[in-house]
C-alpha cells in the first residue's frame, strides 16, 4: 500500500512524549507466538551453521570449496558483505547526527543494533576462513616467547585493527545511546526481572540537567569519532584487495567504491529489518513515510555511485591498456562466471532506479522486496570481485576453478541465523526505537509558547 499521503504530516504534529513511551515500550512486552516461531527458525539456521563449521574443523579446510588459486571464496565474500551491512548503521547514527538530519531519529537505533551484530558476525568469518581457527589470536600484537610481532605493513593486520576498533566504538556508541532509554524502560518496568535487568543495564542513569550536559557533549564526541570510521573501515577492507597486484583488484577506486557499496547495502538491510518491526509493533506513528522516502533517496544516490564505479572499472581497464586488466573486465560479463556479474549489476544498478518514482519510495511492500534484492546483489558484488580475479589472473597455467561446497553454504546460512538471533533478542529486551532522541525533536509541552523567553 502506498502511504505517500502521510508525507505531509510531520512527526512533531502527531506525537507527544507519552505516546513515544507507549509505542516504544510496547515492543518490550512478552514475545508473541510469531516471535517464537521466527526465533526457532533462526536458531535452526544457526544450528546448521554451527554444525557445518564443526564438520569443517573436524575434517579440515578442504571441506570448503577453496583450492589454489581460488583460496578466497564464500567466507571472505561473506566477511566483506557483513562488514558492509554494518556500515550504514554508523552512517545513520553518527554521520546523520552530525548533520542534524531529523529523519534518522526513529530509525537509527535499529541501524546501530544492526551495525554491532553485523560486525560480530563479520568478525567470525576470517576465523572460519583459517585452516587452524584456534590460532586466530596470532594476529594480535602480544609479547610471546617466539619474540614474533605481526607485520604492520600488511592490510590483513590493518583489518584486525580497523574491524576491532569499529566493533568497540560502535558498541560504545550504541550502549551510550541506549542508556537513557533503558532508564525509561526501568522506570516503567512491570516485572521484577525486567526492573532488575534495566536497573543494571542503565547503570543507575537519571536525567538531570548536569548529566544531560555531559551526556550530549560525550555523544557528540562519539559521533565525531564514529564518523571517520564509516569511511575508514571499508576503505581498509578494500585495501585487502587493492594493495595486491591481482588484475581487477589493484585499483585506486576501491575505497570509495566499497564505502558507497557498504552504505547502499546497509540502508537496504535497515529497510529489511525496519519494515517487519514497524508492522509487528504498530510503530507507524513513529516510523513514517518520510523516513522511508529519505532512505529510498539514500539508496538511489549510493546505487548511482556504485553503478558509476562499475562502469569506471571497465573504462580504466580499457584506458590503462593493460592486457591483464582488459582481459579481466572482458571475462567478468562474458566468461563462465558471467551470471554473478549480471546478478550484481541488475540487482544493484537496475532495480534501484525504480525509486525515482516517488510513489514507490513509500510503497512498503515494494521497498521490502527491493531491500532483499539489493542485499542479494551486494553479496554477489563481493563474490564477483573475489572470485573472478582469482579465477583468471596472469598466467593461464595458473588459472583455476572454484565450486562452493555445502559446508560454505551452511555457514553462510548460519551467519544469518547468528545475526537474526541477536537482533530478535535485542528487539525483545531493549528499546529498538530511540525514545530520548525522538523526544528531543518533539516540541516540549508548553502552556503558552510566549512564556518561553529563555
Amino acid at each position: 500500500m502506498a502511504i505517500s499521503s502521510e508525507i505531509n504530516h510531520s512527526l512533531e504534529s502527531r506525537v507527544d512524549y507519552r505516546l513515544v513511551d507507549k509505542l516504544v515500550l510496547n515492543t518490550l512486552k512478552p514475545p508473541t507466538v510469531n516471535w517464537y516461531i521466527l526465533f526457532v527458525v533462526i536458531l535452526a539456521c544457526l544450528a546448521v551453521g554451527v554444525s557445518c563449521w564443526t564438520y569443517q574443523i573436524l575434517n579440515g579446510i578442504g571441506s570448503s570449496g577453496k583450492s589454489n588459486p581460488v583460496n578466497w571464496g564464500v567466507y571472505i565474500t561473506t566477511f566483506v558483505f557483513w562488514v558492509g551491512i554494518a556500515h550504514s548503521g554508523t552512517l545513520i547514527s553518527a554521520v546523520l547526527y552530525l548533520f542534524r538530519a531529523k529523519f534518522r531519529m526513529p530509525i537509527y537505533r535499529i541501524a546501530e543494533a544492526m551495525t554491532v551484530f553485523a560486525v560480530i558476525t563479520a568478525g567470525l568469518f576470517p576465523i572460519i576462513h583459517l585452516g587452524r581457527p584456534w590460532t586466530f589470536y596470532w594476529l594480535l600484537p602480544y609479547p610471546n616467547q617466539m619474540q614474533l610481532w605481526p607485520n604492520f605493513r600488511s592490510p590483513l593486520l590493518w583489518d584486525v585493527f580497523a574491524v576491532s576498533t569499529y566493533l568497540t566504538i560502535s558498541s560504545v556508541f550504541f550502549f551510550v545511546g541506549l542508556l537513557p532509554d533503558i532508564a525509561t524502560a526501568r522506570d516503567k518496568a512491570e516485572t521484577k526481572f525486567r526492573k532488575f535487568l534495566y536497573s543494571v543495564a542503565s547503570l543507575g542513569w537519571r536525567g538531570d540537567a548536569e548529566r544531560w550536559k555531559h551526556y550530549t557533549s560525550a555523544y557528540l564526541l562519539f559521533a565525531a569519532f564514529a564518523t571517520p570510521l564509516v569511511v575508514s573501515v571499508h576503505s581498509v577492507v578494500s585495501w585487502d584487495f587493492a594493495v595486491s597486484v591481482i588484475p581487477g583488484w589493484h585499483a585506486t577506486i576501491f575505497p570509495p567504491y566499497f564505502v558507497a557499496g557498504a552504505i547502499f547495502s546497509g540502508v537496504a538491510m535497515v529497510l529489511t529489518l525496519l519494515i517487519p518491526l514497524r508492522k509487528a509493533y504498530n510503530l507507524e506513528p513513529l516510523i513514517r513515510a518520510e523516513h522511508f522516502d529519505a532512505m529510498s533517496k539514500l539508496i538511489i544516490v549510493t546505487s548511482c555511485i556504485v553503478g558509476y564505479a562499475y562502469i569506471t572499472e571497465f573504462y580504466v581497464a580499457w584506458w590503462s591498456n593493460n592486457k591483464f586488466e582488459r582481459f579481466q573486465f572482458y571475462f567478468r560479463p562474458t566468461g563462465e562466471l558471467a551470471v554473478n556479474f549480471w546478478i550484481m549489476f541488475v540487482c544493484n544498478v537496475v532495480f534501484p532506479q525504480f525509486l525515482w518514482i516517488k510513489r514507490l519510495r513509500t510503497h512498503i511492500p515494494f521497498l521490502f522486496i527491493l531491500s532483499i534484492i539489493i542485499n542479494i546483489g551486494m553479496w554477489f558484488e563481493r563474490y564477483n570481485i573475489i572470485l573472478q580475479s582469482l579465477y583468471r589472473d596472469y598466467i593461464p597455467s595458473s588459472w583455476g576453478h572454484y565450486n562452493f561446497s555445502w559446508v560454505e553454504l551452511g555457514i553462510l546460512l548460519g551467519s544469518f541465523g547468528w545475526f537474526g538471533m541477536w537482533m530478535l533478542l535485542f528487539i525483545k529486551f531493549f528499546p529498538s526505537v530511540a525514545i530520548t532522541e525522538i523526544k528531543e525533536i518533539l516540541p516540549p509541552p508548553v502552556r503558552d509558547p510566549k512564556n518561553l523567553k529563555h
Partner: protein, 179 residues
C-alpha cells in the same frame, strides 16, 4: 557548577519535589528557586536547551578525557608499530622496516579507539555512573513525560515554596523530611 547541585546547608531539613507537565511553568519555577539562592536539581525526560541554559550552563570537561585518550592512542599506535618492527626487523616486499604510510592506519585506529574509550570513562566519571542508589527526590515519571525540580530548604521555607510552586502550576508538590 553553581546552581546545579543541592546545597548541604546544615539547617535544611526538608526536601521539596515539584512535578511539572509544561516547560514554561517549569522554567518559571526554576527562576523562582534560583532567585532565592537555593541550589537545586532539575530532571527532564530528554536534553532541553532552555533548561540547559538556566541550570547547566557550563563547559563539559568530557572533551579533556577525549583529547587525552586520542593523543595517547596516536602515540601508542605509532609506537607499537615502529618499536615492534624494529624489534623484529623483517623486510617484506622491499619496503622500509619503519614504513610510516602503512603504520598510519594503526595510529589512526588507536587514536579513535582510545579517544572513544577515554570519552566513555570521562562520561562515567563526570556523571557518577554506575550509580547504585537513586538520587533523593527522583521520580520515575521524570524519565517519561514530566519535569522535576528538587531542592532542600528549611521547614519554614518549605511552606512558602509549596505556595510558590503551585502558583507556577506544578502538578504536584511534595515535601519530604530530610535529615
Amino acid at each position: 557548577m553553581p546552581g546545579s547541585r543541592i546545597a548541604l546547608r546544615s539547617f535544611d531539613n526538608r526536601l521539596v519535589i515539584g512535578t511539572f507537565t509544561y516547560l514554561d511553568d517549569f522554567l518559571k519555577a526554576i527562576d523562582m528557586v534560583k532567585e532565592r539562592g537555593l541550589d537545586y536539581k532539575v530532571y527532564t525526560p530528554c536534553p532541553i536547551p532552555e533548561v540547559e541554559k538556566t541550570s547547566a550552563n557550563f563547559w563539559s570537561k568530557v572533551r579533556i578525557f577525549t583529547f587525552t585518550g586520542a593523543t595517547l592512542g596516536l602515540i601508542s599506535g605509532f609506537a607499537l608499530a615502529i618499536l615492534t618492527s624494529l624489534d623484529w626487523p623483517l623486510r617484506t616486499s622491499a619496503k622500509e622496516i619503519v614504513s610510516i604510510p602503512g603504520f598510519v592506519v594503526v595510529g589512526y585506529e588507536l587514536t579513535i579507539l582510545l579517544g572513544g574509550l577515554f570519552t566513555l570513562f570521562g562520561l562515567f566519571c563526570l556523571t557518577c555512573i554506575p550509580a547504585l542508589m537513586s538520587p533523593l527526590g527522583y521520580k520515575p515519571e521524570f524519565s517519561a513525560d514530566k519535569f522535576g525540580l528538587v531542592f532542600k530548604c528549611t521547614d519554614e521555607e518549605a511552606r512558602f515554596f509549596i505556595e510558590e510552586l503551585r502558583k507556577c502550576h506544578a502538578d504536584e508538590v511534595e515535601v519530604r523530611d530530610h535529615f
